[in-house]
């Protein structure tokens, strides 16, 4: 660029000659130069703006065009891309710990009708009512002809039924594919699995949603398409579960009970190997939820998890082990057991008005199941420490197990905790819990005092919980429970080779308004085996049992729940791969002291 001089000599001289101010020329030139600069920078800015506008225009028009084509074009599946085996649309399978199928899916079809396309509604209604006896011909015909254009006839068809419907040959009949949940083992583990139903239904597919149990608790995990290929592995063992259910069913019937529950739990990992409740149902054809009457009469009621009962004398071991843990007593300490005991206006009696007193060792309090002895131990401990201990065993909170029912089954306990509650709670009256709560607490004792969290999912690493009691206390507690079986109330529970250690519990059922019903009891037997190295905890609960082989009906756990539990151990322990052991002559010093 040629630079114009601000003061050109020729013009300056010329202006001087004319007598004009030469500075005016300089100012004029300066003004021209500034205008030139301004014009140039304006042009450059304009070009930049136009360029940017073009960029934006093309970007937006590309996006707009893409949106337009996506909206206008037909959706097509990518044909050439290989579809990964890892993404599947169906619900994930549920397996047992050895990989046997508990729940899987099967493709079936649903039947629907487009009434516009029906050629002969009367004939179709007739033929359908022949194939499906539960459909009413007149009702079908009314639904075909009352003006609606679309209706569902059946949610699931078997292949044979589908062929029969095909043979009707009417163009108004349509089939929609359906993924159906199948439980190949029938009623096995029904209360754990729960069952499913169809959620939102479309012509091409329908949602399968969990109704209860683990199907509902793990619904999001099971429905997640990214995890549909990986089955949910539970801690149940199909073989053991089948044996436990068979024995529980026979036992409930033999003991004339209304129902029963059994829980078998691994004490090291907290895995529930078997969870059974009787009566049971078929999850393939889940009955409707009861709308009237007592919900606990329905087969859907899971007594092992939802049954909140007073668990009776099974609680005594908690008072005894806490007192030992606090150093208040040893198993040999003699405590006052002079029955009946008077506390204020309350009279604490023993079973059938026995008197095991005046003095009884702590181990004998447990073996003979003395209410008065336990009451005196509880008074040594005191209410606050007792509550904290029972809470640390998980007896005051709903069980964290992977069943949707467990969340709603919160153990019951009194609001206030005066000393009389301390006394009654020590022998399991006035506080209620589910058999699963009890099994968890016993597992904590059997696990050497380290808290166990129950789970229905397979895990291999041992439980890492907080320590609830000293290891020596836990061993002493198990040894005391062993005495209950060898010479106490649970003598029918001795299974040779498996050193069963347990505690019986009999609690009368409470009336709606308050007070107890004499001849309606809940019998519980909670046990640990083998006693020298506890591996499993078994809790058996029978609802309103009565044993009638003797001259008068017997309603104590020792006569009802204990033989059932012994039979379960006899059947299940070999299946769990446990070899019967020759027992050591003495477990510890307890026997020697007794002698």
């Amino acid at each position: 660029m040629t630079r114009v001089p601000l003061r050109p000599l020729a013009r300056i001289l010329d202006a001087r000659a004319k007598g004009e101010n030469p500075d005016a020329i300089e100012r004029e030139n300066l003004r021209l130069r500034h205008e030139q600069i301004r014009d140039k920078s304006r042009g450059r800015a304009q070009a930049r703006l136009v360029f940017l506008a073009l960029c934006f225009f093309s970007a937006f028009s590309t996006i707009g065009a893409r949106m337009g084509t996506l909206a206008a074009s037909e959706p097509v599946e990518p044909r050439t891309a290989s579809n990964g085996a890892e993404i599947e649309a169906s619900r994930a399978d549920i397996l047992d710990r050895n990989g046997r199928i508990l729940a899987t899916n099967m493709l079936t079809h649903a039947l629907y009708v487009q009434t516009r396309d029906l050629v002969d509604p009367a004939r179709v209604a007739h033929e359908l009512s022949v194939i499906f006896p539960e459909l009413n011909e007149a009702d079908l015909l009314r639904r075909f002809t009352d003006g609606r254009s679309f209706l569902w006839v059946r949610k699931v068809l078997s292949p044979e039924q589908m062929q029969q419907v095909h043979e009707i040959g009417d163009p108004g009949l349509f089939f929609g594919p359906r993924e159906m949940r199948l439980y190949p083992n029938g009623t096995l583990a029904a209360h754990v699995l729960g069952g499913t139903s169809f959620g939102a239904e479309g012509v091409d597919s329908a949602e399968v949603i969990g109704m209860a149990g683990i199907e509902k608790f793990e619904d999001n995990r099971l429905r997640d398409p990214a995890q549909a290929g990986t089955p949910l592995v539970t801690s149940l063992d199909v073989t053991v579960q089948a044996a436990v259910e068979e024995v529980l069913r026979a036992g409930t019937i033999m003991m004339n009970a209304k129902g029963g529950a059994a829980i078998l739990m691994d004490v090291k990992t907290g895995e529930i190997v078997s969870l059974a409740a009787y009566p049971t149902f078929d999850p393939n054809d889940r009955p409707a939820n009861p709308t009237s009457g007592d919900p606990s009469d329905s087969p859907l009621f899971n007594r092992a998890v939802q049954g909140i009962y007073e668990l009776g004398s099974t609680f005594k071991i908690f008072a005894a082990s806490q007192a030992i843990d606090l150093g208040l007593v040893t198993p040999e300490t003699l405590v006052d057991a002079n029955a009946p005991m008077r506390y204020g206006k309350f009279l604490i009696k023993e079973f059938e008005n026995h008197n095991y007193g005046p003095l009884l060792s702590v181990a004998d309090v447990i073996a003979k199941s003395s209410n008065v002895g336990t009451a005196h131990i509880a008074m040594m401990i005191g209410g606050e420490r007792q509550q904290a201990f029972l809470k640390s065993l998980g007896l005051f909170d709903a069980s964290p197990v992977e069943l949707v029912e467990a969340k709603w089954a919160k153990p019951l306990r009194p609001e206030r905790w005066p000393e009389i509650v301390t006394i009654t709670a020590a022998y399991g009256h006035g506080v209620s819990g589910s058999p699963l709560n009890l099994a968890t607490a016993y597992s904590t004792i059997a696990n050497g005092g380290i808290k166990v969290t129950p789970t229905l999912l397979k895990r291999t690493e041992p439980m890492e919980g907080e320590r609830v009691m000293k290891e020596t206390t836990a061993h002493l507690a198990v040894a005391m429970m062993r005495r209950v079986v060898t010479e106490g109330t649970a003598s029918l529970g001795d299974v040779p080779g498996y050193a069963v250690a347990g505690k019986t519990g009999t609690a009368e059922k409470t009336k709606k308004g308050g007070g107890y019903i004499r001849d309606k009891v809940v019998n519980t037997f909670a046990c640990v085996f083998p006693a020298n190295d506890p591996k499993y905890v078994l809790v058996v609960t029978l609802d309103e049992p009565v044993e009638t082989t003797g001259p008068k009906p017997r309603r104590t756990a020792g006569w009802t729940a204990v033989p059932v539990a012994a039979e379960i151990i006899r059947r299940a322990a070999p299946l769990l791969g446990m070899r019967p052991q020759v027992e050591a002559a003495t477990l510890d010093g307890l026997t020697a002291v007794k002698n």
Partner: protein, 125 residues
């Protein structure tokens, strides 16, 4: 020179057109094949699911228990009992192999030997 170039480029266009036509149809055929294979995979996967379900159904504990009861005469199966556990010493082991060096024999060609093997505890010659 120029007409030759024209002819050559015309022929090249023809050849390229023919090649593109063939490639187009080959692609479509491959896509159809992929589709058919994917249908087949889906079908096989579905029947696999059904067969696994059927296997589980046929192996359900109820049915196995009933079958064991029905065929008790032939199989004699009962629920497992604790008393059925044994120790390794109770299992009859096969007798030790006959040692050639002890017998002082060398075998050079195939020999046929018949007789009964001595059981454990019995004296071997």
């Amino acid at each position: 020179m120029r007409p030759v170039l024209y002819v050559f480029s015309f022929l090249a266009v023809l050849a390229l057109g023919f090649w593109a036509y063939r490639e187009n149809y080959a692609t479509q055929a491959a896509q159809r094949e992929v589709e058919a294979l994917q249908d087949e995979i889906a079908g096989i996967r579905e029947s696999l699911t059904i067969q696994r379900a059927e296997w589980a159904y046929l192996n359900r504990p109820d049915r196995l228990r009933d079958l064991a009861t029905i065929n008790f005469d032939r199989l004699g199966l009962l629920p497992m009992q604790p008393s059925q556990f044994g120790t390794a010493e109770q299992v009859a082991f096969p007798p030790p192999p006959v040692n050639n060096v002890v017998l002082g024999l060398t075998i050079e060609q195939p020999q046929s030997i018949s007789g009964t093997l001595a059981t454990e505890g019995a004296q071997t010659p």
